[in-house]
Symmetry: C2
Subunit: 739 residues, 2 copies
């Protein structure tokens, strides 16, 4: 018994010792954090909600109020002061770093001692009518100095004099109609066109190509008056004395005209001023419709076609003395503006990424304004400001995004997207290796109807998911999501039951990021009802009437619309920066490619016979799209089985997602447009504002029926189809398993 | 006592329990592998040694023997057969995947029914002398068919006839001397030049620019005979009937002349043949010196300067009948070659990386040969083959590299680096995001003296470290390392006490990878004694005498030199693919940049006054180099403190190292050379074989004293300095902490 008892005791002892050891072992094993888990900083939806909720309408209002008191044109002291304030506040909000990044770029200003204007001169050369030198200043701003009068930035100096010819909107098709159908030449004449439909720089280019010696642009009430709305300050329509400022460059993405391709630093080589990229060669000037009426009366003999009639047509068609009193009158432009190399300032703020500091998500928008910038751009800049503030709050609570977030307050956007493009050139190496996405933050509002999103296809799904988490800002829709509110107002066409999302065009600071560098990009703002409101942008666009008050009184009295836009932009940044797996959707890209391929092939089908003659086929492109579609599908299937505990495997698939957009970049660029390098998207060659899909093919097909050398023209179509097919194949390859 | 004893027992129990628990806990804690450690697949130096030791001289000999029995010109059936054999053997060796990648590119062949030759014609137009139609075939190969006769690939067809003018090596400076000092014009004449010093395509370009209507190239014994060596087969000198084949393109990196910038796939758009990039416009033909003697006698009246005398000078200067018998004789070229689009085949083999399959290390060399390719390229291809075999052995032992390794057997290198360039174009997106390094594997041996390495500066340190681990192949040096043997024979100049490493030029398949895409690159081979052996490449270069036997009898009878080269190339691949932290050295790049900046500034100093007049300064470039130097230093300091247990932190710093070379790429390319995009290195504009540092500045300064518009010329110098300075600054930025 004793031996037995000892045995039992030993057994008991062994069991206890083993059990204790095992217990310790297990606790030790499981309590040790595995490296991967530590690293797999997961997105906290709690933080997203906090981030969005923290954004406040009242503060957006305050930011807007603060930064719209004084004119702050690029290159002026006031715009530097605002930059310094923004820098200081971003530091106070808690960003890790904020810096001021200057460049010395070519800007253009009116001559303060010799104002620009346009005259009607009689046969003795006497000026019998002069256009106004400035817009009537709105109430409350009478004592403000430094309001730059309406002008066309980068117009050369000059005093052309001649007959005036009206060319509708100055579009390519308008000049075709004038020259081919009406048999009117503008060579040696001065052209007058109405604003709208296309980017003003394209109008100027068309006038130059047609041989005009000057061009005048005016805002016709048909295009700049909303029905039933009064002119500012009683409503938000453009007064007759208001005119649209704006640059008239054709930069095609070059940035500073004197330093194309390189940042405009102190040591940078500059072209001679006359060699500058995209500078107009003929004088250009904008006027309001009160002045335009007078000039239009002087178009001796020209009877514009019915479809060219604006609101002012009565004057220029049958006005008093038409073809009689004014027969010998000419129009003279008097332009004294100067181009000068001037220092500008971007403000760049950063939140260092916790795990992947070398992955960058950028929220950028401009700060410079033509005058006060009540809408453009401060209704966007105020939202960036509020986003930074909200992010700072979160940082103080211990949050830190997985990836680095960069906030940018760009300068000199109004002069050709210059601040943002110079910074892109300066940082091109870093951006092409490290940039995950660029979200643009220009004007937050241009109408009172619903949300408008333009973005690359891989962001579609993220935009939909995010807007479902944001509330509608519209009164009476408190229980609806922004998605629902937007969906109801702007459903996609037959294609799909979801809110419409459009292609990115250009005309704002995302251009260099998206179209030159191939960075995933998007923009969001509140917009008008496109079906019923036909004016371009909004009536007071680029006039002195873009004040804080126009937003507060008319566009967004509660500032809830702007808050919703801030939440969309900020939410995109948040999710792109903080999601473990990048929320990008290659399948959506595949769908869009198919649509674009169908569309361009359809366009070409108007020339079926010639396509047969020259053996032009879209087969290779469709086959490439098919290949891409399969690659995208396969990629997302593999993504489902990704081991998210393995930081390298996560990084590898994220890199594939990040570099997808980059794969569409052709380093050789589009024909004649070396800085437009995206094969799928480019600004239209006929309207910088609009996005064109498969732009190389589109441009090769354009007006091909009038080509002087059809064989050569169709060879170019084939070349462009081949480039597009290859590029889509190459992009598909990036989505396959990497080895 | 009892209570005390119980207390003691309790204490004892508690201690035991706690101790056991702690023991278990500790064992549990420490025995659990942390994720990071699992992932941090460390380089096993044991595996490196095994990998290098596995490579065998006898097998290299066997591979070389096997693939040099028959001519295997690009585009021929035999070259496809070798491709298929290589593919099969690589599969057998154990690669994860091997595929054949075809392209359809423009090749050039002599017309089989109408051979090319050159005649001397008398005043009646009668051909009084014709050059030989083929080289005498070496012993043992008499029955071999399909030996292509010497020709200049891509020469247009033509029959130019005219006086012959001798222009030494046909270099830029030779034409300058002829035209400016000797006042001889070659317009409308046929030029004859000796081979050597520069790439033959540059000679042709110079002759075209000078207005010649044809160009003949010959191998002068001064340039192609080693002293005291007999002609093949008794020695390794070039027989008098031997001639150098070769392409005479000026592609500047474009790849297939008909598909510049894009891979030559079936669907790819092709230029019209006459639009092809880099095609010579005048007939070109190569001859041996037995034939050259006859032609040189016909240069009526031209007395070449003393420094132009080759071994044949006696003939053309004072030969029988000089200026008398032959005064009315002319030279006629008869060229019937055809350009034709032909299918070629690259073989691509892969070993999938264990941890970072999306990081690629490439070992590539060509397979196509002008005839047998005994030296060029099979002495290199045999080494790739042996490297694949050795890697396969390791794979079977359980080794798998951290990163993906890609082995390539390129086709059509001899026709302008076409196979490798097409594949680079095809895979450009993947390569620019994922390629860590490209190691070239052309001819393994061109002399019997010592090692020769050309590589990008960031590889210097790795090359030195590796060669210290490889044995000298020289007899009697068994106890020395390759490094010591090399160091003894080719010390760097005053700069540094280490073996000399040179810049990469071009003329082999690394070009697209390094100069277009900016991938870290290098090459290694065994070479001659540059100080005593003045011939270019090696005497039988591109002749029918490049046989297996010339290697076995003369260049490397034990095959130990080739084995050492295989170990260098293979060792580089191994360490680049398997080291946890990439073995790249940014500090070496900084040192080289400083040297190059000093050198280009020194060159410009020959124009001190003009530099003052036009305000040209290198200050911005020196400041950029300084900045880069500091950034590199800081980077390597931080690398010392890198937490190698954290896979993301390791990846982030490796990415910085990988992308360093990429940062020197300017997407706009060099002036007139869009596919040469590396701002630091490019093939010389005057000799494709040579590397030029800061090529943009160099070319802007070239012959500037004779510029027609000095102001414009100096502005271009300033522009190039500005681009160089910016690029170096931009590269420095990539080495700073990423946020």
């Amino acid at each position: 018994m004793k031996r037995e008892s000892r045995l039992v005791r030993w057994i008991w002892w062994t069991v206890v010792v083993t059990a204790l050891f095992l217990l310790g072992f297990c606790i030790g094993w499981f309590s040790k954090p595995s490296k991967a888990t530590t690293n797999n900083h997961k997105t906290s939806s709690k933080y997203l909600v906090e981030f969005l909720d923290e954004m406040q309408s009242d503060l957006i209002r305050d930011h807007l109020r603060k930064f719209t008191r004084l004119p702050h044109l690029a290159g002026t002291e006031q715009n530097l002061k605002y930059a310094e304030e923004i820098m200081k506040e971003w530091q106070d909000f808690g960003l890790d770093s904020v810096e001021m990044v200057p460049y010395d770029i070519l800007l253009s200003y009116p001559n303060k001692s010799e104002p620009n204007y346009i005259s009607i001169v009689d046969h003795n050369g006497k000026e019998v009518f002069n256009t106004s030198l400035a817009e009537p200043v709105p109430h409350g701003y009478e004592d403000v100095s430094n309001i730059v009068p309406p002008y066309s930035a980068y117009s050369p100096k000059g005093h052309p004099e001649g007959d005036l010819v009206y060319v509708n909107y100055g579009r390519t098709e308008d000049f075709f109609q004038l020259e081919r159908e009406m048999n009117i030449s503008v060579t040696g004449k001065i052209v007058i066109v109405r604003y709208g439909k296309i980017f003003r720089g394209n109008k100027v280019k068309n006038a130059m190509s047609a041989g005009a010696k000057g061009i005048i642009m005016f805002s016709d009430p048909v295009d700049y008056w909303a029905a039933g709305v009064k002119p500012y300050p009683d409503g938000w329509n453009l007064p007759g004395g208001g005119a649209q400022r704006g640059n008239v460059l054709n930069l095609n993405g070059a940035g500073d005209p004197l330093t194309p391709g390189y940042p405009a630093k102190e040591y940078t080589y500059r072209l001679n001023p006359e060699e500058g990229v995209g500078l107009p060669k003929i004088p250009v000037h904008p006027i309001g419709f009160h002045d335009a009426i007078h000039l239009l009366k002087n178009m001796g003999g020209q009877v514009p076609p019915a479809n060219w009639k604006g609101a002012l047509n009565v004057s220029y068609k049958t006005g008093p003395g038409f073809t009689e009193d004014f027969k010998s009158h000419k129009v003279r432009m008097n332009i004294y503006s100067n181009n000068q190399v001037t220092r500008i300032y971007n403000v760049i703020g950063k939140i260092r990424g916790a795990l992947e500091p070398d992955r960058h998500v950028i929220l950028g928008g401009h700060r410079d304004a033509w005058v006060f910038g009540g809408i453009d751009p401060m209704s966007g800049a105020a939202l960036v400001h509020e986003t930074v503030r909200s992010a700072g709050k979160l940082l103080k609570k211990g949050w830190r995004p997985r990836r680095t977030v960069i906030f940018a307050s760009w300068d000199a956007e109004e002069f050709g997207l210059l601040g943002s493009t110079e910074w892109a050139e300066d940082n091109a190496r870093l951006l092409q290796e490290r940039a995950v996405a660029y979200i643009n933050a220009d004007s937050g509002i241009e109408g009172m109807y619903t949300l408008r999103v333009d973005c690359t296809p891989s962001l579609h799904t993220l935009v939909y998911n995010l807007t479902k988490q944001i509330s509608s800002p519209e009164e009476g829709e408190e229980e609806f999501s922004l998605y629902e509110s937007w969906h109801k107002r702007d459903n996609w066409t037959n294609d799909r039951d979801a809110p419409r999302i459009s292609k990115l065009g250009s005309g704002s600071d995302f251009e260099a990021y998206f179209i030159r560098l191939g960075i995933t990009a998007g923009r969001a703002r509140y917009t008008k009802n496109k079906k019923t409101e036909r004016y371009s942008s909004y009536p007071v666009y680029h006039s002195v009437y873009e004040t804080f008050e126009i937003v507060e009184k008319f566009y967004d009295p509660t500032f809830r619309r702007l808050r919703a836009v801030a939440q969309v932009r900020g939410g995109l940044i948040f999710l792109l920066a903080d999601s473990q797996v990048l929320p990008l959707d290659a399948n959506e890209y595949a769908d869009s490619l198919r649509k674009y391929a169908d569309s361009i092939a359809h366009l070409a089908q108007t020339h079926t016979e010639l396509m047969e003659t020259y053996k032009v086929s879209f087969e290779s492109l469709f086959s490439a799209v098919e290949n891409f579609t399969n690659a995208a599908k396969g990629f997302h299937e593999r993504l489902q089985t990704l081991n998210i505990e393995d930081p390298l495997q996560v990084r590898i698939m994220n890199d594939q997602l990040m570099y997808l957009e980059r794969a569409f970049i052709d380093p050789l660029g589009l024909p004649g447009r070396p800085f437009y390098r995206h094969v799928i998207f480019a600004p239209s060659s006929h309207n910088k504002y609009a996005g064109e899909s498969f732009p190389g093919i589109y441009d090769a097909l354009f007006d091909i029926e009038n080509s002087a050398d059809p064989e050569k023209a169709w060879r170019e179509v084939k070349r462009q189809i081949s480039i597009a097919a290859f590029t889509v194949h190459a992009a598909a390859m990036t989505l396959t398993p990497p080895a």
